[in-house]
């Protein structure tokens, strides 16, 4: 044990005293802060855009504006519903009042500076600015509604923002429908009344009678939190494992190229050496997680003292979800086994290589294969019950990242145990095989070409293997 600890300590101190470690440690919080700041900055700085409608009369301009009003009203309603949902579980409920008027408009109608597209061109190209409620700006779009049945023309220099164009299409449909009803001598008010009697669809979650009595039927954020958290944990596991196992690869290559193995192996047994190395990088993993956890805790405490309780409720829900035994235990087992499985593979690869370039030839295909769990994670975001995720999670190399995604869908306990067992058995097999490869690399100086020869010996017909050189 003492020698394992000594190897662990040397490697661990070596890792955490390197600049790369501190950069990696700082990267996540910095990126999180940067991402949040940039998101907020982008949202707050997206300018209101001017558009103009050229038509006989004002039917289209009025209908487009009505469409935008309805959109803002829907958004206000959704925001209020979310805060109500959070308040229902908060100790001190407080409503946040959101109205359509409090949501700033994204598009503002202005009087047309010309009647034809040639007259409007300088404003649309930004060569001239038009004065509106937000000051002088270029004209974002012009909608020309010709008489008769000819198509409506939507002119803009921007071809990526389609929101205004969609509102024009909806407005046209509404006006056409209204005109149709009028042509049929039906009062437009009747159409409006018919629209008003359309009912909302309320999403509800089926629960037991006891649960229903205490929490009600409506879908709340607390119902969705486990899915969000499992996706977050899966991403985190993937990120953690693949950010730290590179350390093992580099360290092993360094020991091989520095020819330290013989000195080490007369002081430390090979399994002890391997255990110390794996423990050191796992220690680095825990240090990173702990540091990020402390950063998160600091952000949480700061938020708890300054933000409204409703704003902090999702964080509480996330923490409560994390503490769920099924999620917590699965996450811990997945982290440990996933780390061991991939860690020893990288140690084995490193023990066969003298340079990073050599290692790349073996690592690159492996890394490409391991992008598949990321695809599966993205599937889960749209459909947590995806059959694809269920199937792929049985593949032991992917189980560490995908099983956690299935926990919120409450898969059968036997299935979870079977997947964990399969993952454990595979980890043991990989550990056994990787130790043999590590021994071949560290003790016998085997290289990639020897590994290729071994494959040739194992798989008949691939050619004759050459002998291992002595001494």
């Amino acid at each position: 044990m003492r020698n394992i600890f000594l190897v662990f300590r040397r490697d661990y101190i070596g890792y955490i005293s390197a600049w790369g470690f501190w950069l990696g440690l700082a990267a996540l919080p910095i990126l999180a802060l940067l991402g949040a700041s940039l998101g907020a900055f982008a949202a707050s700085t997206t300018p209101a855009r001017y558009y103009t409608v050229i038509e006989a009369g004002d039917a289209y301009a009025t209908e487009i504006e009505r469409q935008f009003q309805r959109l803002r009203a829907d958004l206000a309603k959704q925001t209020e519903a979310l805060t109500e949902g959070l308040s229902a579980t908060a100790a001190n409920p407080a409503a946040i009042s959101v109205t359509a008027e409090s949501i700033p408009p994204k598009f503002i109608a202005v009087d047309p500076p010309g009647r034809t597209i040639d007259e409007l061109r300088p404003w649309l190209l930004g060569e001239k600015l038009i004065l509106g409620p937000d000051g002088e700006k270029p004209l974002f779009a012009a909608i020309i509604v010709p008489d008769g049945d000819r198509p409506i023309e939507y002119w803009s220099d921007n071809v990526t923002v389609g929101e205004l164009r969609r509102q024009v299409e909806d407005a046209d449909k509404a006006i056409a429908r209204s005109a149709f009803f009028e042509a049929q001598n039906i009062d437009p008010d009747i159409l409006r009344q018919a629209n008003d009697v359309a009912r909302d669809v309320i999403e509800q979650k089926i629960r037991t009678v006891e649960e229903q009595e205490t929490t009600g039927n409506e879908v709340t954020f607390s119902d969705q939190a486990p899915y969000f958290m499992s996706i977050g944990i899966a991403f985190m596991l993937w990120f953690m494992i693949f950010s730290v196992i590179q350390y093992l690869l580099m360290n092993t290559i360094e020991e091989r190229s520095n020819k330290i193995f013989d000195t080490l192996l007369t002081s430390v047994r090979l399994p002890q050496l391997l255990a110390g190395k794996l423990a050191a990088v796992f220690g680095v993993t825990l240090t990173m997680m702990g540091s990020w956890g402390l950063f998160g805790l600091g952000a949480f405490l700061l938020g708890a003292t300054s933000a409204p309780a409703e704003m902090m409720e999702p964080v509480w829900l996330g923490l409560r979800t994390m503490a769920r035994p099924d999620i917590l235990i699965t996450a811990i087992i997945s982290l440990v086994l996933g780390y061991l499985m991939y860690g020893v593979i990288f140690v084995a690869i490193g023990s066969l290589c003298d340079t990073i370039q050599e290692a790349q030839t073996l690592v690159s295909p492996l890394m490409m294969l391991l992008m598949l769990p990321l695809v599966a994670i993205s599937f889960t975001i749209s459909d947590p019950n995806s059959a694809f995720v269920s199937a792929v999670s049985w593949f032991p190399l992917f189980t560490p990242f995908l099983l956690i995604l299935r926990i919120p869908t409450a898969p059968p306990a036997m299935e979870v145990i079977a997947q964990l067992g399969l993952m454990a058995v595979t980890t043991a097999l990989v550990l056994w095989l990787a130790t043999k490869v590590y021994r071949a690399g560290a003790v016998h100086g085997a290289g990639i070409s020897d590994a290729t020869d071994w494959v040739k010996r194992v798989i008949p017909g691939l050619g004759k293997a050459k002998q291992t050189p002595a001494e």
């Binding site: 390197a18 013989d262 000195t263």
Partner: protein, 325 residues
Amino acid sequence: MVAHPLVMKNATKFFGGFLAVNQMSFEVPNGKIVGFLGPNGAGKSTSLRMALGVMNPDSGSAELFGGPPVPSSLARVGFLPEERGLYKKMTPRSSIAYFAQLKGMSSREAHNRADELLKTAGLQNFARTKNSKLSKGMAQKVQILSTLAHRPEFLILDEPFSGLDPVNQQELEDLIRAEHERGATILFSTHVMEHAERLCDSIIMLARGEKVFDGTLNEAFATLDRGVRIELSSPDFDLGVTLAAKGYRAHRDSGDSSETEHSVWHIALDPGQDAQDVLRASIETGAPISSFAPDDARLRDVFVKFAGPQAAKALDASAIRDEAA
């Protein structure tokens, strides 16, 4: 205390179909300096690695301090491998202390010992310099100090002189003598016979994975014939043929080249034969003699005798490669 810190019994090792070491048996007596001699590829490093349990023999065994090489017995051994290196980001002080701790020393004791050794070796000013910034010679010294740090009872040095300049080779010879005086048993491998001649009590010679000689230096020299060495100013004169006619056994030096402007001949003296008679007989044949001297027994000749001229050439090639490196 065991009489023999290391006993190899019929150790055999294959690499694939290649027989690297064949039926290797020898004993290293306690308190002696033993040379493990042979050219590159003779099986020296493989034998030493089997002795230390780094790799297991396919058959036979290695006994270290009376038992298999286990952590407790390995802690009593200091091993300097042929392929040696240091962690580049560590310092000499932390490197020496780290390896000493792996051998069982406490942290404080190991660091104190590292300071002491670095001071003795004149490297105290580089104690906290990163290994990557040391010169090659300094790095080799640090590696050797790491081997000695825990005051081992048994030192195994695999090609310790390899890559060292003459000054550092001399320092290492002194260090080996000092460790021997301290009471350590020393086994070192080399393909340079002169080091063994100067340092060893006994020698083990290897060729093609097999032991060809095992004994003291005196026993080794006793295997050679008494003789004289005659140098001729012409490379073309065949002294062997002319002396054979007079009943003498003569052979041309195996290191001699036909491209040189002289030739060296060794003449064995059988019982009853005299050096003066050989000189007289040589003069009578008209040989262009440029020097005549009693033939000093050298380990290289012993090696040639037991391993054959091909192995001797391999030995010379190893020395040339080492010098080039």
